[in-house]
Symmetry: D2
Subunit: 353 residues, 4 copies
């Protein structure tokens, strides 16, 4: 109940703190008989992992997933898939300085107020380390819907953004650079900008665009569980996300209906796609695309005012290994969450067939 | 299961089509002993009602809510509150022209594909008429959390927007004009713009900003059910909504951490509030504020190409009574959805006390 | 959340008090395109209705169901089915004597303690009148699984019971007598016994047996949501039910494994069926059968000691129109609950196909 | 969704097969700040463990629980508690003989039909080994409701039963004998009977009675989620359980209302307690007591006819280490399930306060 589950049919429940013994989860409702591609799963883990390039944190996380159940002779059996990822690289003493202090724009303060106790080491449950379980489950979800293509990429870092529609991009280039931006010229500018920000001990925000292709018509439930509402919730549940828009998004507010309506072709496809592949909360077979915005990481490697648990303000030096810009590493997380939602709605839609 | 419920503790389930006999819902989990203010409920219904001014549709909906259970001698009893709103003003023949056609950017086509059948009269379940039940439940939710102040208002129509922070606005002016914009000068410009658009038989999009004040610290669950994730889902579930951002929102993507972090005061409040009153998914006691974007209404009173159920494209004249701009009437709906989420999380948080 | 819903895919939520304006419910998740047999639904309502014979209460309930949504041109549309049953025959003053008193073995006292308020008229939400909504939904559920045959019947009243296995009974005789016992000789004895008990102003308990035939193999989920666990919960949720057993039931506790095991035939059916059609929580295609026990109705038409809200014990004369034995009228309710569970699990199992 | 979760507020989700790497679970919604008694948890594990006496299976299970999250410095933090129990003692080749055969009254056949695949080793997910996770969670649940006393005991084995009401028993004697029967004379008879049955390579059924004392008034939700309905479901979800009755149970069917009604004392307690501590689905503060019936274990150490996956009947010798009577070891499992339900409803009831 307390918010650590997502999905109704393909349902993921997770546990784990950044500095506990392990993180992990249970996937309940995965169909039986799927021959899992374990390399594909581990590959997603690699993509999420820190320390892959000069622009992301050099913290080393092994991130090897261990499956404990629900798989027999390489295939899913329909029973719950339990998995863990051990924390092998925590340095708890890195965090002793925040035992009695609340960092600005972190969850320290509200956790303390809500629960009266918190695992202060590295953010505990509120750490982005938690997303490791999402990536495991998302990698399996992708294999439940093998025909669906999910491609996320960094579309902006600070003021630098891709100035082309996604249709003009080559998604195969996303993984060729450290920022995960398929527009390689822009990628280079982003990379330089992040390096500079990092040098200042500062951080910078950014956005990720995600395109989901080949989604069957009919996914999504009317009213409260519209497909884009669930996608939005899934994205907003990712650490540091402050906004979500799909299709025409915020630009649509400035448009006229006569400009915005997507006229049909005779085969039921549409000539334009400002609807973002979803009408009335239900997929219409066109590309689903959306954009997610991330605030800058709150942990700065600078001096900063923090609040103590005795209500004093003191100056503290930020420490630890943190990303100067979170969006490159968030790309596989956005994809994982998209996969979880689409797989869940895909299974739910079987009920109507 | 099929998506017509929202909330976990304070749970609303709704039913009803625009041209059926009635719409309504069941609120399960409303605390007992609340002395209901029925005028306040009916007042919210009035706010949502069409036909209140020159700029909204002149369709007349009586929208009188009839409570059938869960209330005894004016107080809630803790048992489910059943309610209905009769459809007294439907003109089904207005819609006969769409029996065999799918209008662009409507849900006609996807409903047909998903269910193999649809109540084509006035959009059926996909009509915004469905929101009437949300407003009833939201009005009750507001009474569950009487200390919380929820104020939504129109912040933009097309290219016209309020260029002040919400702190400089007087929310008591929102209801003084037809567009529900508390900045009266801007309101007048918006009103004129909508009239012009209407004359063209066209429609226009817009945004609504919502400010929630006096929320206790601690509402929200970590990980998947973050407070802003649920608020986002609730907003995205409203017809025509294409995006949601809270706190710094999409602007945050352009900021540095040193600019974005909200430094504490000694009492735990913060000097700035780019976090939008939520940290790590949990309310921190500061104002919660967010912005919701609406696409332009898809029904145009113009000629337009539609698809027939025999896969032909034909020209059809848009008919019916529709809003040229939906945002003024959506203000009470945004507030209702916000109230539902906050009341639900407020009750859920009692578990920790 | 507060317990007024059942089912995960085919989900019923109900509302209503015995003396409120109406009772009703919402069925969410009913598949689209089912051509409803409304006579069959009304027929189930008739079966549940009081006043049908000398042995049941003469209270007149009209019990006409009014469907408000989810049905178009006689077919389900996949959207939620809202329905109400108006209370046309309440006599609230019949119950004024219990305004300040708690009757023994009723829910008066615990409702008052739990909620601090109660609708004392006729038991309010705790009245068996609430089951009327279950019967409506069960009648629709039966039409979702037309091949499944559900037959419940009274198997005992007080000390009088059918002494044959169900295989020797002719279910078509169940409705030929007032007690709904397909063994007509036993039925007559039961009927006479109930009349005698009634004359004494007393009441008597009984049991209902239910046989579900033609259930596909594979319904039921392992571990917590075993098919018989959900059937058990559904039955135990009916007013006055104090026990549930399936297959060999309590007799199985006295048996040896070598007697109890159901040996296979070559086609996968079993030679015996002490498992009651369910193995490991999953239907195996054999008949599912179970027995439900009802305590005697607590309302006596005698003088009885009651507790006042000022903690005094006083003598009160039981009044109102009540059944001397509830089991004959509970037969359609047991069938309805069985249909709800089987339909729900039937739909859920589509995920595996 | 696929049935591996129980509870709404205090929610347990489990995973694991008898011969996989580990079993375990996640408890979501455990209140923060509870100082856990780990010895008490391990003690419950010991009680469930096989190999403790001559009458239970000599299979050795280490059953050491490893907590991975949600606990910090010995206290719960409010975040999900992840835990695993490694399978250190599986002998998979013991089960190779059932790879292609379906044993009578086991779940082999239905799993194969439902999922098209099964982990045949030792029953996989359908093995009672799965209950180990329930016992861990139940032991924590008991610590959430420290004032509530839960005592289960074996009340019958085959034809041998305790012939006293539970009020005359001394629960402190339950753990003094191998069958867990607090009536020591009866216990000895049971023990001898089980030994004899075991010698025959056969098995025998039995019943467990559970008494829950000191439950606050007001737990339970009306209508579908009545307290006894949820207790019933929880018990029926335990392997081999075929029936549940509470309070007067099946005996109530033979009683008159004038005998059955529990008259009040002036303090709101009742003179008798045929209601079993629950009225209208809500606890009334009196003892809650119920009885659960277990069929004889289906695995016999005898020759028996089994079905092959090629639809042949062959004779097979039962092998492995199995209990001749499951009820002694099921006592802590019944208590665990009772604790899970009471803790969940206890927390849920906080919403009304």
């Amino acid at each position: 109940m307390a918010g650590n589950s997502i999905g109704t049919i393909f349902k993921l429940t997770t546990f784990g703190e950044s500095h506990g013994e392990a993180l992990g989860g249970i996937i309940d409702g995965c169909p039986a008989g799927i021959e899992l591609d374990f390399d594909a799963i581990q590959n997603e883990m690699q993509r999420r992992k820190p320390g892959q390039s000069a622009i992301v944190t050099q913290r080393k996380e092994e991130d090897e997933v261990k499956f404990l159940s629900g798989i027999f002779e390489g295939k899913t059996t329909g029973t719950p898939i339990g998995f863990i990822i051990e924390n092998t690289n925590q340095k708890s003493d890195d965090y002793s300085h925040i035992k009695y202090t609340y960092r600005p724009s972190h969850a320290d303060y509200v956790y303390e107020k809500k629960y009266g106790i918190r695992d202060y080491r590295g953010g505990g449950r509120s750490s982005a380390r938690e997303t490791v379980s999402r990536v495991v489950a998302g990698a399996i979800a992708k294999q439940v819907i093998p025909d669906v293509k999910i491609n996320a990429f960094v579309s902006s870092v600070g003021e630098i953004f891709i100035d082309k529609p996604y249709q003009e991009l080559d998604f195969s280039l996303t993984e060729t650079n450290a920022v995960r931006c398929p527009d390689v010229v822009t990628a280079q500018k982003m990379e330089e900008h992040i390096k500079e920000i990092k040098k200042q001990g500062d951080t910078i925000g950014g956005t990720i665009t995600c395109v989901i292709q080949n989604v069957p018509i009919g996914l999504g439930e009317p009213v409260f569980d519209k497909l884009h509402a669930e996608l939005g919730k899934a994205m907003l549940s990712i650490n540091a996300v402050h906004g979500f828009e799909y299709g025409s998004g915020f630009c649509g507010a400035r448009m006229k209906g006569s400009e915005h309506n997507d006229l049909f072709n005779e085969d039921g496809t549409t000539k334009t796609n400002l609807s973002g592949g979803i009408q009335g909360g239900i997929s219409n077979g066109m590309d689903i695309y959306f954009r997610v915005t991330f605030k800058p990481v709150a942990t700065l490697l600078q001096q900063q005012e923090v609040l103590t648990n005795e209500n004093k303000l003191i100056i503290q030096q930020g420490k630890g290994r943190h990303d100067a810009c979170v969006v490159p590493r968030a790309v596989p997380i956005v994809e994982a969450m998209a996969a979880l939602v689409i797989a869940d709605y895909y299974l739910l839609n079987k009920l109507y067939q």
